[in-house]
């Protein structure tokens, strides 16, 4: 009963409902406008909602997250430009459909399927998270440490780009996170004896720099690109179409939840894997994949929205983010004095159920906004980049400054923005950096706890890993990811993906 009350908190406070609505609406546009990303928006928003209560702040972010994952599909279909990485796979069949004059239908199917996938993801979150958190209580410090390493490695290896660069990015993130005074011994770490580094580097400045400034700098290079307009017809899809794709959408939603729930990996990878899966299981598509197959829309869109619910599972139960956006949300919860992890689920179950309720609501809003307002949508997306980019810079500066009212944070943000800009150019993934920054403290604390409890004996530490099934599984997974970097594995990978690429 209390659970139900917590889920419906959102309906008892019109203000929260409104915020989820605004968030979802804004998210759809942020996701849709190329150059604006959900990660960017959420990281800038943390500092703006700093003075708010935690519920309204979370409501807004959840809305933006849900809407944003969906919104990327719009521009993918209409312009062949995925507004967000999770929509890359959507463009492959969505744009061909639009070229045939079926843009409306494509958007309709995408919307309903995103809703469906989102719903499955939230359902799994609601059912699985309480069990996972019970299980999480048995986790040893070394398990947390291994999970954190696993998360950083996973995002480095599954996202595009080389694993070595991914590992570098992750280690760099952990190093950034350890700058400042050590919380246990108060020793200065990596401060170069500089006054400004003693308090550590504000992770919000790092995030806004990496995801806001660096993106805007990159977008400066294609300021003059003009969008092409598409005609939009009937939108609401028929019930028969939906029923036909039900089995596939169930499968791809499952893929989405699982990929989302793995620490570090989110909607973009889920969508690509689901697309690949759809290609393998669909025997007789009405049209070939890549030329406007409906299945090619259903799969990535169910999966990326299902991944949203999935990503919250490790975040709420272990305090380990499921993807970059949940990493930033963990930061937001920290700022509001909450510590995500198994204890949060026990001490404040309301918080968890509130998030479930907010996700549900955002999902419904997404369906409503998705099936309406297409005409305004095309107008807003055509907003020239020459205006958007300066505004992103402005918001980034305000956001970085606002958290601590410190100009030094603005410079940190600029520095990481420029660094992130080069990292993007040269193929270093940025996701692991953020994960590293967020997980640095958890990794450090748990490593030290684990090794102290083994009396500083590495032999006993490894013995502990080998004798515990959980630790052993995690440890094996970490090793496997490393092995996956050897030439043997990459040959297998080419066979796996090379065949699928079109």
């Amino acid at each position: 009963m209390e659970t139900l009350l917590a889920i419906f908190t959102i309906f008892t406070q019109p203000q929260l409902l409104l915020l989820v609505g605004i968030g979802t609406f804004a998210g759809i546009y942020i996701g849709a406008i190329p150059g604006l990303s959900v990660t960017m928006a959420v990281s800038i928003l943390i500092s703006f909602t700093f003075s708010w209560d935690v519920y309204p702040a979370i409501s807004l972010m959840v809305g933006i997250y849900m809407g944003g994952v969906y919104g990327g599909s719009r521009t993918a279909i209409l312009l062949n430009i995925p507004g967000a990485p999770s929509a890359i796979a959507t463009a492959m069949d969505g744009y061909p459909m639009a070229k045939r004059g079926e843009a409306g239908q494509a958007i309709g199917v995408t919307t309903v399927m995103s809703f469906f996938g989102g719903f499955i993801g939230i359902l799994v979150l609601a059912l699985a998270a309480p069990f996972v958190s019970d299980f999480a209580l048995t986790f040893q410090p070394r398990d947390y440490m291994l999970l954190a390493i696993l998360g950083i490695l996973l995002v480095g290896s599954l996202s595009s780009g080389s694993l070595v660069k991914g590992i570098f990015a992750g280690a760099f993130g952990i190093a950034i996170g350890s700058v400042g005074r050590d919380p246990l011994t108060f020793t200065e770490r990596l401060t170069f004896d500089l006054q400004i580094m003693q308090g550590g580097i504000s992770f919000i400045a790092v995030m806004i720099g990496m995801f806001g400034v660096s993106e805007a700098l990159l977008q400066l290079q294609n300021v003059d690109k003009v969008a092409v307009r598409q005609k939009i017809s009937k939108i609401v899809p028929s019930f028969a179409t939906m029923r036909k794709h039900l089995p596939l959408s169930l499968q791809t939603s499952t893929i989405g939840v699982i990929i989302g729930a793995l620490p570090g990996t989110g909607g973009d990878i889920a969508a690509l894997m689901a697309y690949d899966h759809a290609k393998r299981v669909t025997k007789n598509p009405e049209r070939p994949f890549g030329e406007g197959a409906m299945e090619g829309l259903v799969a990535p869109e169910t999966a990326n929205n299902a991944a949203v619910g999935g990503a919250f599972i490790p975040m709420m139960t272990l305090g380990i983010p499921g993807d970059a956006v949940t990493a930033i949300m963990i930061g937001a919860l920290f700022i509001h004095g909450l510590n995500p992890g198994p204890m949060l689920m026990i001490d404040q179950p309301d918080m968890f159920w509130f998030i479930v309720g907010a996700l549900m609501t955002a999902n419904v809003f997404m369906l409503i906004f998705g099936l309406t307002g297409i005409r305004i949508f095309t107008k807003i997306v055509e907003m020239p980049r020459s205006i958007i980019i300066p505004l992103i810079f402005l918001l980034s500066i305000v956001g970085a400054y606002a958290v601590n009212n410190a100009i030094s944070d603005v410079y940190w943000m600029l520095g990481f923005g420029v660094l992130g800009f080069f990292m993007r150019h040269y193929g270093y993934p940025l996701g692991p950096v953020i994960l590293g920054v967020i997980l640095s403290r958890l990794l450090d604390d748990n490593w030290r706890r684990a090794i102290i409890s083994e009396r500083e004996d590495l032999g006993r530490f490894f013995e502990g890993i080998i004798t515990s099934p959980l630790s052993l599984t995690l440890f094996t997974a970490v090793i496997l990811i490393f092995v996956s970097q050897t030439p043997l594995w990459s040959a297998a990978k080419i066979r796996l993906f090379g065949k699928a690429s079109t």
């Binding site: 660069k165 760099f172 606002a402 193929g427």
Partner: protein, 189 residues
């Protein structure tokens, strides 16, 4: 879908977020230099991390920083070696594709923004920045530039100062009085 897909072949096409650029088998202008820079930076960080607590206990405050900076050094070194062996991308130059003048100018704008923020205050600095930035990017008349820049600044200011109650440096603008006037307006006095 090619997992190595990096957007269109010679320019970033607007796919955003953590999608990295670069090519799997070719080296972009400056890529080697960047890799060397990261290697040297990692070395400096490792030396600094060693200085925290030396090679003492495994649970010492310096152990995790040392481990991570060591991993950074090794991976950055590997990347440098790999990059050095790759052929250059044929049709790209530093000035055209990686760091065009426009971007350097904007980084300069942002630094100046940071310098001016505290002494001059948010509103005038932001107004100046938006006007100059939009003028440079949109290349339209002054009327359009001023209208768009000041219009969006007013919206941003209202949203963040009043709705989000974010504190911004007031500088030379009598902001508190202005907000009071605005609040009075809203409350109907």
């Amino acid at each position: 879908m090619n997992p190595e897909f990096r957007g269109d072949s010679d320019h970033h096409d607007g796919t955003s977020d953590a999608t990295p650029g670069g090519y799997p088998a070719q080296r972009r202008p400056g890529e080697l230099g960047f890799a060397i820079f990261l290697t040297i930076a990692s070395l400096v960080l490792l030396y600094n991390a060693y200085g925290i607590s030396g090679l003492g206990a495994l649970s010492a405050p310096g152990s995790v920083p040392m481990a991570t900076t060591f991993i950074m050094l090794v991976t950055a070194g590997m990347v440098t070696l790999r990059t050095a062996r790759m052929p250059k991308v044929a049709n790209e130059t530093m000035a055209n594709d990686i760091l065009p003048l426009l971007i350097i100018i904007f980084i300069g704008f942002l630094v100046v923004f940071g310098l001016m923020l505290k002494p001059v205050g948010f509103a005038p600095t932001a107004a100046l920045f938006l006007i100059v930035a939009i003028k440079v990017l949109a290349r339209r008349g002054w009327g359009y530039t001023l209208l768009v820049a000041l219009g969006s600044l007013i919206v941003i200011w209202l949203v963040f100062r009043v709705v989000f109650t974010v504190l911004l440096p007031a500088g030379i603008v009598p902001e508190a009085e202005f907000i009071q006037i605005f609040r009075n307006l809203l409350s109907g006095n």
